[in-house]
Symmetry: C2
Subunit: 439 residues, 2 copies
């Protein structure tokens, strides 16, 4: 971090606490959420550490981070069980003893009675203990309050719960407003992400070539995941207005070079993008899924308000369901097999007929690990998009394990629909008859 | 960490590298996987840190970790783009320069031509650069090799890729065998996890009460997640045989106290548990999903070999699909509404009829954020299990956001089936007519 950041109070460190994190039994999603929320205030996470549930480890990591940055957010260790040591350990570090917050304790007792019709379990009492002189951070999603502890030099530790929903609620309700009023910053960190799918990181890098950072030094990062590569543009330590202008210009250059592959920005979910396109065109969707077994339907219906456009569908895992519910013909199955251009077309038509939707989406393939043959190895997947009877199909040879193949199959089906709707006309019958996706 | 761990070479630190991690654009799943794999060798992750894509930050974190523990594993920053700085930065720290690995470069060129029928993009060349004196760690899942770098004092850094599939492959193929041959340890860290669902952390803690750690000091941790609470037992620094015996005795005590809530151990997926129970009883499954929109089907079919038992199902998002495909009657829908005991029963029966399965699973509810009413608020979910015409239903009032409500609905449906199959008889028509799940 820069000494400038320290002076302005925009540098912060995160310490996530829990044996379950250190031993790898839980994946830490809190740190990522925190970092994004802090960036919106112009605050910058300069280091992150994870330690186990021992007082010494917690104290050492928090002390080091306080020494470096003067500002620390911890998550975890506020629960009702004996391995929850965060409050006591950090109170010791600040030379404070613990006392019972009577008001909070009564609130917990009442809440428990009302919710569960039973007295508060004894184990929960420690959740109402607070370091002397600390400020309580309200928890509207659980029973453990958060803690704000500050020393005479203005160095602070904010302790948040480890349960993601509680952490997120407390952050939004209590901590962010508190931090916003402290941070005196004229500059911000701003970033914008353009999301692509169906193209490898290397090919994308070749298409985009070098980017001139400009006077504000916009950074471009390639972030590959199972379903695509995100392009993230970041400007640091710039006045808000300049940052936004610089990023907008860089984003427009990226769109010039890779526009067809970009389906959305920032958190955009391809399912939400496609749903919005259908909604605005008055189109409804039905699905027919074999190897994905419901995953495409689950992705579409994960979007709030999806019932505007999604009518339903058929999970046609067994061939009998393909035949009897979707109306795939015996002859087609016998002649071409379940994983074929012919069958996926009949499945998409069946999805439309069963649900009465304009758009039928169908997936049939071999997700593995078994079931592959020399002609149709694991990863062979046929996808179809039927819009009012006009059908396009794609054959993909997907890499990865069962979960990755299924995720990609759902993603590429959505992208096929996106490209069709963009073109507003039927695409060639087979776009990229054999598409392999690297990384 | 203890000085004993240092002497035996069992302490290791993890440094994960990437702006995308620090800024929160990616959730770090690699650290968790690494920790679990290392524990199997008796190695113990004592600290974890995350730093951004700058040479200084990488060097500082790796130097500190080397100083403390002498053993560091990094992930990330081995890709083909300009923000991939891991190898160069750590080579500098070790005072080594970079040189081209000709053999690897030729292999990359050939592989690219064969896979993509195009010459290797220029950007990829840096993936074949290696620090002088380093050992290459084979990557069987991508083009970036890993790096093993060791100094004259025996302190080492292993650099693995950030892409999870590549990291996992390289760890298993190259790094773990190398570490196994170095670690001279008579003792191990062993743990075992018992998984519960449908009971809150506090209630579980009350049922289990205090556990005597015994002479080896077995630790018990409560790990809550969206779909349940895991109970993890851990013994550290014990001879293998003693550790396993101690854990087995502790696990059996937990089963005595909370057996009915425990559906499996360690990585067990409730969907896999239920599938195995169906398989062994010769039962087949069909699903009917409204608010989960395919999620239950997706969970079941995520399990390799699920086609033995899962036939398919219907995503009945719109009421027309409930009526026309599942055969839910107009009268029932009109009298009770789509989220009701009566409708979920007819859906489960419909799932059996459509797929021809013995077991019909059905879910209908209000996942939110909109759609709730005073009588049926968001989170109201009806679940049904129909086994050969014998139907049980459950009403749940679920907390959380849309995603959490959907995940819990799928999980509790699977658990309802598990409990039914265990009892090997029909459960009371409504088990826990109104079950709320805390945390």
């Amino acid at each position: 971090m820069t000494s400038q950041e320290l002076q302005r109070g925009t540098a912060v460190e995160i310490v996530t606490i829990g044996d379950e994190l250190l031993l790898g039994f839980t994946v830490d999603s809190n740190a990522a959420h925190l970092a994004r929320a802090l960036a919106s205030l112009g605050m910058h996470v300069v280091r992150r550490a994870t330690v186990g549930d021992t007082a010494t480890a917690i104290q050492r990591a928090v002390a080091e981070a306080l020494e470096r940055s003067g500002a620390v957010i911890t998550t975890g260790g506020l629960g009702p069980t004996s391995d929850d040591l965060t409050k006591q350990s950090i109170a010791e570090l600040f030379g404070r003893r613990m006392e019972l917050d009577e008001e909070h304790f009564r609130w917990m007792e009442e809440r428990w009675l009302k919710r569960f019709n039973r007295p508060l379990p004894a184990a929960n009492k420690q959740q109402a203990m607070m370091p002397v002189g600390a400020t309580k951070l309200q928890n509207n999603h659980g029973s453990a309050p958060g803690v704000w502890l500050e020393d005479e030099r203005g160095r602070w530790v904010a302790m948040l719960p480890g349960v993601p929903r509680e952490m997120r609620g407390m952050l939004a309700d209590s901590l962010l407003p508190r931090l916003a009023s402290r941070v005196a910053t004229g500059t911000v960190v701003r970033s914008r992400t353009l999301r692509t799918t169906g193209i490898s990181e290397s090919l994308l890098a070749d298409k985009i070539g070098s980017m001139d950072g400009g006077p504000l030094g916009v950074e471009l990062a390639y972030l590959p995941s199972i379903t695509g590569v995100d392009l993230r543009l970041t400007v640091r330590d710039a006045p808000e207005r300049d940052a936004m202008g610089t990023i907008a210009r860089a984003a427009s250059r990226l769109r010039d070079r890779a526009g067809q592959w970009i389906y959305g920005e920032d958190d955009a979910d391809l399912a939400a993008v496609v749903l919005e396109m259908c909604r605005s065109r008055g189109l409804t969707i039905g699905v027919a899924e074999s190897c994905t077994g419901g995953l495409l339907g689950a992705r579409l219906t994960a979007i709030p308000g999806s019932s505007d456009a999604v009518l339903g569908g058929v999970i046609a895992y067994h061939n009998d369901v393909k035949r009897e519910t979707l109306g795939v013909s015996d002859a087609t199955l016998a002649a071409h097999g379940a994983v074929s251009d012919e069958v996926v077309r009949e499945m998409a038509a069946g999805a439309r007929r069963v649900t009465g939707a304009n758009v039928g989406l169908a997936i049939t393939g071999i997700a593995g690990p078994s079931g592959g043959t020399p002609e149709k190895p694991v990863g062979t997947v046929w996808l179809a998009v039927d819009i009012d009877g006009e059908v396009t199909t794609q054959l993909h040879h997907l890499w990865g394990d069962r979960a990755e193949i299924r995720e990609r199959a759902a993603q590429y089906t959505l992208d096929q629909l996106r490209v069709r709707l963009l073109a507003n006309q039927s695409a060639p019958a087979v776009r990229g008859a054999s598409v392999s996706v690297a990384r």
